[in-house]
């Protein structure tokens, strides 16, 4: 054990952006998601089977189990709300949305790491799920 790195996939907002988004008033009644990339927004909505009713530049509307929802990009992050709903309902919707988005990013990260490792001549010696977190161990040949 010698060097540790923390990496955030492009498409997922950095913590600093999430903190800043909490303080913005640019999207009324909105709350921060973890997503930065429009493509990941639509991909997560498809996975969740929430029909997309509008997909514009920086604005996505979808029909969710909690009602019509707005996703709007402010700065480096997407904010969201359930139209006409309480903050608790919006947060519940965002929790489901973030979970789906994060899972997509997680699986994509695992797949890319495995592909890159193979190309680099590394051997995958371990892959296991640790309570949702996926552990990969690669070894030089």
């Amino acid at each position: 054990m010698s060097v540790e790195l923390v990496l955030i996939p492009i498409g997922i907002a950095a913590l600093a952006a999430r903190r800043m988004a909490r303080a913005t008033s640019l999207c009324e009644r909105c709350r921060a998601t973890i997503v930065a990339d429009p493509a990941l927004v639509t991909e997560a909505l498809v996975v969740l089977d929430w029909p997309i009713v509008e997909d514009g530049e920086g604005v996505v509307r979808a029909q969710t189990p909690w009602g019509s929802a707005l996703f709007r990009k402010i700065g480096d992050i997407f904010l969201a709300r359930v139209d006409g709903a309480s903050e608790a309902v919006t947060l519940e919707m965002i929790q489901a949305f973030d979970a789906a988005s994060g899972r997509i990013a997680q699986l994509r990260g695992v797949q890319r790491a495995r592909e890159q490792a193979a190309a680099m001549g590394l051997t995958l010696i371990e892959q296991r799920d640790e309570g949702g977190q996926i552990r990969l161990v690669f070894e030089e040949a």
Binding site: M1, V3, L7, I8, P9, A105, R108, R112, F138, E139
Partner: protein, 70 residues
């Protein structure tokens, strides 16, 4: 033999560790971690005590945002 341990969180965040490369040799493998996680951005890096002991120094660095393309 150098090992690369990656923990991929439920939100896609990757925590990577280089093992069995004591001392400054481990720094040579940082680029390998970046190659293992293309389209990801390094937001933090740190040197652990084992490394510090070896080189008799300790540092903890937070890097600026660095996009990396494979």
């Amino acid at each position: 033999m150098v090992r690369f341990v990656m923990l991929v969180d439920l939100d896609g965040t990757i925590r990577a560790e280089i093992q069995d490369a004591p001392g400054e040799a481990c720094l040579d493998h940082i680029d390998s971690i970046r190659r293992l996680a293309p389209n990801a951005t390094v937001v933090e890096s740190s040197v652990t005590s084992e490394f510090s002991h070896t080189v008799r120094s300790h540092r903890h660095a937070t890097e600026g945002v660095q996009d990396h393309d494979a």
